[in-house]
Amino acid sequence: MWTSGPESDLSATAIRWDGWYYDGRGATRHSALIVITPTALEVLPDQLPPLRWPYDDVRQTQGFYPGEHVRFEHGSTSEAVVVPDRKFLAALSALAPEAARRFHDPRRRSGRLWFSVAAAILAVVIGFVLYQWGVQALATMLASAIPASWEERVGDAGLQELAPPSRVCTESETVTAIAQLSSTILAAAPGFPYTSKIVVVREDQFNALALPGARIVIYGDLLGKAETPDELAAVLAHELQHARERHSTEAALRAASVSALIGLVAGGDGAVRGLLTAASTLDQLRYSRRQEEAADRGAVAMLQRARIDARGMLRFLARAREQESNGATAVPRYLSTHPPTAERIEQLRAVIEPQRYAPTELMTAEEWAKVRTACAVRR
């Protein structure tokens, strides 16, 4: 498929070639005889005076690939000649070798073929390496270079959307208790780069999330379902750990560089871009699952250093699992942003049990009861 029949015979050295001449003024095509001389192309169009084009004034604009006609344009005019037979180029290099260096020589084709094959393989390898390692390395590097204050500002903008003031719970007991809880956790995590901001949103969702700059949203339903302060502490530690490892900032940077890479590969092609984007979105979920595991591990370490009962984490995950089994459908592993809860519990159990310290009491039962219910979802 890369060598068509006539291409194989490139030894022709005819001096005269049949072609067409276009005068660049009207749309008539003139049959012409094109003659190769050592210093110039002579163009002899039917019924028109002969022309002499020194090679220096001639550029080749077509005829680089099999199946293309050879096209030469003359100077800054719109005059052109077309020779349908690409063997013309071989004849040109044979008869006027000095001048023909300016033009494509199809006899170099076999070398070019290897170049193409090597290019294809190398392009795939480079693309794969960039995607597999380059994207994450770049995201980590950039995320650590971004000042904490920027991330906080981005996080604040996110809070505006996710937790508009009208839906944020402002009950002072809850707000103060949560602030105290987070400072207890962070007291044992020196060098935490952000001034954290934690809000509870009155919404019927069993979820919590961390925006860049330690902007953390806890949904009312989750707060209501946590049974002890340790469980809430576990959730907070998990989200603070996400923030500390700049997970959401990295994810945003990763998404940006993946889409840039896809742009490079797909060019202007919408269909290819769409397919690659869909595929990479699925694939990128593995980072998300990895981040959850990292946040779990980091959270346990944080809780243990703060001498908070880390078993709260296990209890809370068990509760999350109940929530899942109440839910309608189980998400297949490769489609999920989180690892299966059972697996998370299994991995953490070994680190958490046995607990070798006497955990601090975070608040009294009465205090906790108020904290839990004050921000309940209003129905």
Binding site: Y65, G67, E68, V265, L275
Partner: protein
């Protein structure tokens, strides 16, 4: 007024004694007969089919080399790659015995893209700076204003600019195409049509498209000769109406038949120098084309992409022809100067309205 070439049967368009289509000399004996009315009555109806002769294998090589160079240069080569692909594609499209040529360069495309980037970065930073200086509410207002500005002013600039660039860099038989359309009439037209479309809850949309097509076609020229368009919005409305109706009934499969009908409509109302374009695209043809493409793509994990593009272009060209008594004697070269900024803009804001080219 013309006689026929004894070799290919096509009309003789000049008195040079050479047939403009098969390039063979015409013996003096068949020069225009004395009885002019007789030849008018027998006005030859000639069909000039388009064809695309590109090969997937060659295309694959072009893509592979481009991809490597793009990755190695971190994207800068993209513009040269784009010019290279276009040069190859144009050189493989043929009508009436002659191939097209693309004359654009990577430099031009890079410069055009840079201008577009400056504009878009300026717009984004305007929103971001307003947010920092005056808070999110002010930023939202600035963002809405900019969106409006892009819709009303920048989109027409992109449409006109990209047509002007592409056509002025395209030639056939050594004569360049050109695009004479200006931004302000198009902006007015699009603004009015969008308004009516909104008021009529979308019913006017086919009219908007038809008017846009009319603008694009009638402002396009080959040398000094303009293209003509006589499509009616009502006809397109009917095509869209049935498209929607049967589209729902057939769960979307009718889309291919709709798309073919729209393609036939657009082309059959486009004419040039005494000849009319005809597209014989069919829903079945497009459907089979798509099935084959999807199959190829999946089986080869996307590696067959160049072959898919070739299949598409080959189909597009194979159903298209120019029919009638094409008379090119009046065509005179008129070269237009144009930059690629509009092209860069259209690329970036991705106007779905521009999918009217043959292999551009």
């Amino acid at each position: 007024m013309t006689a026929l070439c004894p070799t290919c049967g096509r009309p003789l368009t000049s008195d040079s004694g050479v047939c403009a289509f098969c390039s063979l000399e015409v013996p003096a004996s068949v020069s225009p007969p004395a009885d002019a009315t007789a030849t008018v009555a027998a006005a030859p109806f000639v069909s000039y089919p388009f064809s695309f002769t590109g090969q997937g294998g060659t295309f694959f090589r072009v893509y592979a080399e481009n991809l490597l160079l793009i990755l190695v240069t971190l994207g800068i080569y993209y513009f040269w790659a784009k010019a290279k692909v276009r040069r190859y594609v144009y050189s493989q499209i043929e009508v009436a015995g002659d191939r097209f040529a693309f004359h654009g360069t990577g430099w031009e495309l890079l410069r055009g893209w840079t201008k577009a980037v400056v504009l878009i970065v300026a717009a984004i930073s305007a929103v971001a700076l307003t947010e920092l200086a005056a808070g999110p509410d002010a930023a939202r207002i600035v963002q809405s204003l900019l969106t409006l500005f892009f819709g009303i002013v920048v989109a027409p600039i992109a449409i006109v600019g990209s047509r002007r660039y592409r056509l002025s860099r395209t030639s056939w038989r050594g004569i360049r195409f050109r695009f004479d359309g200006r931004v302000s009439p198009l902006a007015r037209q699009l603004f009015n049509d969008s308004f009516v479309t909104t008021v009529t809850l979308g019913i006017y949309y086919p009219y908007l498209l038809n008017n846009l097509r009319q603008f694009i076609v009638t402002q396009s020229a080959y040398g000094n000769v303009r293209f003509e368009y006589d499509g009616k919005g009502g006809t397109l409305l009917r095509i869209y109406f049935f498209g929607l109706l049967f589209g729902i009934l057939t769960l979307g499969i009718y889309y291919f038949w709709f798309s073919a009908a729209r393609q036939r409509f657009y082309w059959s109302h486009t004419s040039f120098a005494g000849a009319r374009f005809v597209s014989r695209a069919t829903g079945g043809g497009l459907f089979r084309l798509m099935l084959g493409n999807v199959g190829l793509f999946i089986v080869t994990l996307g590696l067959a992409w160049p072959w898919i593009r070739v299949r598409n272009l080959r189909y597009l060209a194979s159903v298209l022809s120019l029919e009638g008594n094409l008379d090119l004697t009046a065509v005179i070269q008129q070269i237009q100067a144009a930059g690629a900024a509009g092209e860069g803009l259209a690329d970036m804001i991705d106007l779905g309205l521009l999918d009217v080219d043959l292999g551009a």
